[in-house]
């Protein structure tokens, strides 16, 4: 029992460090003037989210987070930033004139969400224990392709990805004779 308590405290310390790193790097993402640095800070935030998924016993989601988000999406961002740079792009303010208004809106949204959460009684609920034979990856795989569950949304998501890729190629394609 005492060992269990110690593990829980270690989990809380891990969560605290990860949360601090995530919030700090997220603030850097939205305030850094240099966009390449902003994309690199976004990678730090995404790694923090992967750590959180690991603490939630969602190993598959954590791996997908690293492979898809950091391996594909963040690299796509960095390439797009490098393709659209111009000399005076990094000078001048990175935020528009009404940035204080958006800061007020963001603080109000955060305050409203936490205020809503205060009045909800499910907050302090402990997570149900997982048995040693619990296999979330196998369960996820069966649920994704089972006709009684989520096979239709799964296929729709595949078609959506294909359509988005074709659309992206069509939009970004440079035709002959165009500047």
């Amino acid at each position: 029992m005492e060992c269990r308590e110690k593990i829980m405290t270690a989990m809380q310390i891990i969560f605290g460090i990860t949360a601090a790193v995530m919030v700090g790097s997220a603030i850097m993402v939205v305030t850094t003037k240099n966009l390449i640095h902003a994309a690199l800070w976004l990678i730090v935030t995404l790694f923090g989210a992967a750590v959180l998924f690991a603490t939630l016993n969602a190993g598959f989601i954590a791996v997908i987070q690293v492979v898809v988000y950091i391996g594909a999406i963040a690299i796509l961002f960095i390439f797009a930033i490098m393709l659209t740079r111009r000399e005076k792009g990094d000078t001048g303010p990175g935020l528009n004139r009404g940035w204080w208004l958006s800061a007020v809106i963001a603080v109000v949204v955060f305050g409203g969400l936490t205020w809503l959460l205060q009045g909800w009684d499910g907050l302090s609920k402990a997570a149900p224990a997982l048995g040693p034979s619990f296999d979330s990856v196998g369960l996820l795989a069966e649920t994704l392709v089972s006709p009684e569950a989520f096979v239709l949304p799964f296929e729709v998501a595949s078609v959506l990805l294909l359509a988005a890729l074709v659309g992206a190629v069509y939009i970004a394609f440079q035709r002959k004779g165009e500047e």
Partner: protein
């Protein structure tokens, strides 16, 4: 054990920071970075609700996987649009992309 409220408050903070980025950045790519932050906050919420409610019902993780797919599609189309606009108008500043403004 980590209480559920910690995850929810952290993801609310991430969502608010991403919302600030979407509303206040000038560069169109930076706006997309803010949208990524908001989608990640949603994913953390989905997975933590899966863990704290009934882990044998895996719906939360399924939703998270579908959010991943939608995020990838959104980034691909969004960045293609930004690159196309940059080719034609030589700008990525959202204020200067005003062709359809009346």
């Amino acid at each position: 054990m980590i209480p559920l409220s910690w995850y929810l408050i952290l993801s609310a903070a991430l969502f608010a920071i991403g919302l600030f980025g979407v509303l206040s950045r000038k560069n169109a790519i930076a706006i997309l970075l803010g949208i990524e932050l908001m989608l990640n906050a949603v994913n953390i919420n989905l997975v933590s609700f899966w863990r704290y409610n009934d882990p044998t019902r895996i719906d939360g993780q399924v939703f998270a996987v579908i959010v991943f797919a939608v995020a990838a599609a959104e980034v691909a189309v969004g960045l293609a649009l930004v690159i196309s606009v940059y080719r034609r108008r030589n700008t990525v500043v959202a204020d200067e992309i005003d062709l359809m403004k009346w």
